[in-house]
Symmetry: C2
């Protein structure tokens, strides 16, 4: 598996932070958890500590630093909620989960989570996918005004009848539409005035998701419903 960003120092530093997100670590534990040479692990941890991304606890272990909390407070709250939702949805359904928004001619993946192993569909955050195929595309298209919907249907893998069905039952399904062997189901996320602003999806191998279980469908609809509510405290 190639997990490299192209900037080696960053990859290693992220490995340090990911290890510390699991548990506080002594240097020796950090070396084990990251596989880095000891001086490298030490140097990067100290450098991260300099910037507040890592701290030391009273026992001298490295722990995640509070600057992460400061920055997290500046993460777009909607984006953070979407990520929470897909993590939960993945755990409840056992499949990959994503949230998409319309972006230009496509749909942008703004949150994504997948099972840790086994056969699964991988869509990275930031991926721009087609609006012409896939259950999320159907959801984002189904509630457009008729003129925009007509434009969207040109060259699409789905039909006007299919979009009418999506509107009636409130969720969409696709089987191998965007990518062979991949099935997905999606539901709309709406804003305060009922406008569809995003689609939340689960996707996986067609053998498993051709017949989504009632539990999976309910989890999807619940996630869409929660994301459609105003955030707590507002």
């Amino acid at each position: 598996m190639d997990n490299g960003s192209g900037v080696g120092v960053l990859d290693k530093s992220v490995a340090v932070l990911a290890a510390l997100s699991e548990a506080p670590c002594s240097l020796a534990e950090l070396v084990l958890a990251t596989g880095l040479a000891r001086p490298t692990a030490y140097r990067l941890a100290v450098a991260l500590a300099h910037h507040g991304l890592v701290d030391r606890d009273v026992e001298g272990r490295f722990v995640l630093g509070s600057r992460l909390s400061e920055w997290a407070a500046d993460v777009d709250p909607w984006r953070a909620r979407a990520q929470d939702a897909v993590l939960r949805l993945r755990d409840e359904t056992g499949e990959s989960a994503q949230v998409y928004r319309s972006s230009g001619d496509g749909r942008l993946c703004i949150a994504s989570a997948e099972p840790p192993h086994g056969l699964r569909d991988t869509v990275p955050v930031g991926a721009l996918l087609t609006m012409k195929a896939g259950s999320a595309a159907q959801v984002l298209a189904a509630w457009l005004n008729p003129a925009a919907r007509g434009l969207m249907l040109e060259g699409a893998a789905y039909s006007a009848d299919r979009l009418a069905q999506v509107r009636r039952r409130g969720w969409a399904q696709s089987l191998g539409e965007r990518e062979a062997g991949v099935a997905s189901i999606s539901a709309p996320v709406t804003d305060g005035v009922g406008t569809v602003i995003a689609a939340v999806s689960i996707s996986g191998p067609i053998e498993r998701l051709a017949q989504p279980t009632p539990k999976q469908r309910q989890a999807l609809l619940d996630a869409a419903d929660q994301l459609s509510q105003p955030p707590p405290g507002s």
Copy 2:
């Protein structure tokens, strides 16, 4: 000002994240905000995006990524609260603020915030300071049991009478005790059974803090009180 961690790529990447914590940025804005060359800013932003620390919004701008929120959820909640508290305290008092815990023979700074400019006292998170001088040391010593307190008083800049005063009025002050020209006031943070577990402090030039205002003192006591309460929701 030398703000280098010793690892240049990390310093630059932190500059990118700090810029994005202020506002979403196009690449051009990121170049202006960070002073990095355009290809460098681009490459680091894309690498950070690969790891989920940065995302792209629907307009293509770089924004902070939701992995920060995931990791922030793993930051020790007490540590995150302490950092919130010192940020607030700094804003309310106009002085530097810190939270200290006992650690070995010293006191460890676990949260710190300072005014953006002007004459101020700088104590970095992770700094291990003496228990023999300073208002925070007085607070951490004042409520020790008599045997431990007696040991702590040996060689200390403060007296037993001073510690009795601290216990009576509930806060401590020091004038140039730890460092010439620096004054500070501190108050105790207690746990559920009244044990002092930390000291919260404001510090600054002696000219300003020799006579703390009633507002500054109240803000300090309020911060200590809030940190002494159980976290919301528990």
